[in-house]
Symmetry: C2
Subunit: 332 residues, 2 copies
DNA sequence: AGTTATAAGTTAAACGATTAACCAATAGGA
DNA sequence: TCCTATTGGTTAATCGTTTAACTTATAACT
C-alpha cells in the first residue's frame, strides 16, 4: 500500500493541512512539529502524489516535445537541448515522435491538450497547420525548427534556412558549378522550402536558371539519399554538384558515388547539412551548412516557459547559419 | 475556461456519470442519448482531463525512460526503440537525462516514484545501485543496457557485452597484435566492465598478460577519445591496436592519429563500437562491434509492460553482439 | 397477476493533494 | 484591563474524473 499524506498526518499527530504546509513551506509551523513531520516523511520515504497535486494546482510542471522525424542527429541534439533546459527549470519532458504522420500529430496534440502538460513544443510534420489554431488559444505552444505563417499565437524558433540554401549554392557556384542538384528529406515543410528558396535566389543572382527537376527527395535516410543521387545523376549528366539537406542522406550519397566510381569533389562536389562529428574524417571530409541544434532546443523551451508564465509577447527567433568548409565542396 | 465533463453533461441534459459511460463505453446507453453526448463533446472539442482520470484510476499510462548519457547515437537509437513501443502500446514517455550524475538519478527515481508514471526504464549511472531496492518493490522498474546484480525484482535487457570485448580483442590478436589498448567512456558500469572482462579473457586465452594501464578513460566524447589515444600511445609505444567503446571517441581517436601522422591500420589497428552509418565511409572504414539498440529499447518496454500488468516472472534478456568487419582492424 | 431479471440512468463517494476560511491562544498596546 | 494582532494550527471545499451502489421502468417468465 502506498503511503499518503493522511498516513503521515496520523502518525505525526497533526492534520493533513499541516503536513502539506511543512512540505511546501507555506505557513509557519513550530520547529518541533515540523521536525516530527519531516521525520515521519523520511521514515516512509514519502513523496507527495503528484497526480493529486497536479489536479489541484492545475499545472503539471511537464512539457511535451513533439518531433516529426526520429533519429537524425540534428533532431537528436535539439531534443537534448530541450530536455536540458526543461530539467534545469524543474520541468519534466514528454517525448513524442510522429514519424511525419500528420494525422497522428493532430491526434497527439489533441490528447496532449488534455494530458495536462503545461505546454507543447512542436516540430510539425506538414505545412498545413491550420488545425493548430484551435489549440494555441488555450495551450502554450511553440513551434521549433519548422513553422508556418498560418499559425497564430505560437512563437517559433528556427534556423536561418534561407541563408543555408543561399550560401551553400553560392559557394558551389563560385567553385564553377552551374548545374547543382539538391536532395531534400521531406517536402512541404518550412525548412526544406526555405532552403530551396535560398538555393533559387542564389541561382538567380548568378543568372542561372532554376530547374525543378534538379530537386530530388531522399526521405532523410541513407538509402534514400543514395537512390536520389543515382537518379539525379542518371537523369542529368550535366550536374556537377550536390547540395544534401540531411546527414544520413549524405552518407548514402557518398557511398553511392564511390560505388559508381565518381570522385568527390572532382567529378561531383558536395555540401551537406548538419555537423555530425564524423564529417571531418570522412573521405573526403565533408563541407557542411550548420545550425546550432541544442541552442535551438534550449531557446524553444525558454520561449515556452514565457508563454506558460503568460509573458505574452510573441517573439520569433531565427538562429544564424554557418558553413564549415572542408574538402567535399572543392576547397583546399 | 477549459470545458469539463460537467459542462458536457449539463448541455446534453444528462448526468456526468452518463457522459463518462459513453466516453468509456462502460455501460449501455441508448443510442439517442449517446449521440447527443458525442455531439456536444465534438462541438467543444472536449477531451477528458487525464490528470483527474489518472488520480481516480491510479494509472497514468505514462512510463519514464531515464538515461545516463545523452547524445551518443547508440543511446539515441535505444530511446527511439522505447518511444516507438510505448507509442504503439498507447503509453506516453517521459525522458530524463541524468548526465551520469548518480545523485540526480536517485532524486529522479524518487520523484518519478510518486505515481506520476506507471513504470520506469532505467539505464543507470553507477554500479552502486542498492538504493534501487527501496523502489523496485512498489514500482515496476526495468534496467536497460546497464545493470547490477544487487538489484532485485527488476528485469533487465542488455547486450552481450562480454562477447563484444572478447571478439574484438581476439580479432585484433589474430591480426598479430599483442599490445592492445582499450578506451572506455565511463568506469563502474556493467557495459564497460563486461567488455573489459571479455578483453581480459581473450588475452588469457592467448597467454597474453592483461595490463591495467592499457586502459584509458575517454569520457564518451570526441575530445576525450583523442586525448585518451594520445596519452595511451605516449605512455606505451608498444601498443599497436586500440579497442574503443563509443563512436564519438572513435572519431576523436581517428582525428588525433591523423594529426600525429599515424596510419590506420598499418601503425595502429582499431575496432570501435556502435554502427553509426558514417562508419562505412570514414577513411579508413571502421570495423565495429555492434548491438541492436532499437531492439534493446523495444524489448525493455515490453518487459516493463509485463511488470506493470503484474505478470511477475522476472526474466532477463541479453541480446547478441556482432562484428561488422571493415578496414580499420587490418582486414582486406 | 405477481415475481424476477434486465436495462438505462443517477447519486455520491472516492482518488490525494492544496488552500481559503476559520478558530483558539497568546502577545502587545493603550 | 480590554481590545486588537499575530501565530500556529485545523476544517472543509475543491480540482475533474471513475465507478460501486442504488433507483426506476420495462420486459420476461410462471
Amino acid at each position: 500500500m502506498k503511503v499518503t499524506m493522511k498516513d503521515i498526518a496520523r502518525e505525526a499527530g497533526v492534520s493533513v493541512a499541516t503536513v502539506s504546509h511543512v512540505i511546501n513551506d507555506t505557513k509557519n509551523i513550530t520547529e518541533v512539529k515540523k521536525k516530527k513531520v519531516l521525520e515521519i516523511i523520511d521514515k516512509y520515504n514519502y513523496v507527495p502524489n503528484s497526480t493529486a497535486k497536479n489536479l489541484r494546482r492545475k499545472s503539471t510542471k511537464t512539457a511535451a516535445l513533439v518531433v516529426s522525424s526520429s533519429t537524425d542527429s540534428f533532431v537528436n541534439e535539439m531534443i537534448f537541448g530541450v530536455e536540458k533546459k526543461a530539467r534545469e527549470m524543474g520541468y519534466s519532458l514528454l517525448l513524442v515522435n510522429t514519424n511525419e504522420d500528420a494525422v497522428y500529430e493532430e491526434k497527439t496534440i489533441k490528447i496532449l491538450h488534455s494530458k495536462m502538460v503545461d505546454g507543447i513544443i512542436l516540430s510539425p510534420t506538414s505545412n498545413d497547420l491550420d488545425y493548430l489554431n484551435k489549440f494555441t488559444k488555450s495551450m502554450p505552444i511553440v513551434l521549433v525548427n519548422r513553422y508556418n505563417e498560418v499559425v497564430k499565437n505560437a512563437p517559433r524558433v528556427t534556423g536561418d534556412n534561407y541563408t543555408i540554401g543561399f550560401d551553400a549554392t553560392e559557394h558551389l557556384i563560385e567553385h564553377g558549378h552551374n548545374n547543382i542538384g539538391l536532395i531534400y528529406s521531406v517536402p512541404n515543410v518550412s525548412t526544406t522550402e526555405e532552403r530551396i528558396r535560398g538555393y533559387k535566389e542564389a541561382l538567380e543572382k548568378y543568372n542561372l536558371t532554376y530547374k525543378n527537376n534538379y530537386l530530388e527527395i531522399g526521405y532523410g535516410t541513407v538509402d534514400g539519399g543514395g537512390k536520389a543521387a543515382e537518379e539525379l545523376l542518371k537523369r542529368h549528366k550535366e550536374i556537377t554538384a550536390l547540395f544534401i539537406l540531411n546527414d544520413f542522406m549524405t552518407v548514402g550519397v557518398i557511398s553511392k558515388l564511390r560505388e559508381l566510381s565518381i570522385t568527390i569533389p572532382d567529378d561531383i562536389a558536395l555540401i551537406g547539412f548538419g555537423d555530425s562529428p564524423a564529417s571531418a574524417i570522412i573521405d573526403p571530409p565533408v563541407t557542411n551548412m550548420i545550425l546550432p541544434p541544442q541552442e535551438i532546443g534550449e531557446k524553444a523551451f525558454k520561449l515556452l516557459l514565457k508563454k506558460i508564465n503568460k509573458e505574452n509577447d510573441i517573439e520569433n527567433f531565427e538562429l544564424p547559419a554557418s558553413m564549415v568548409v572542408r574538402k567535399s565542396c572543392g576547397c583546399q
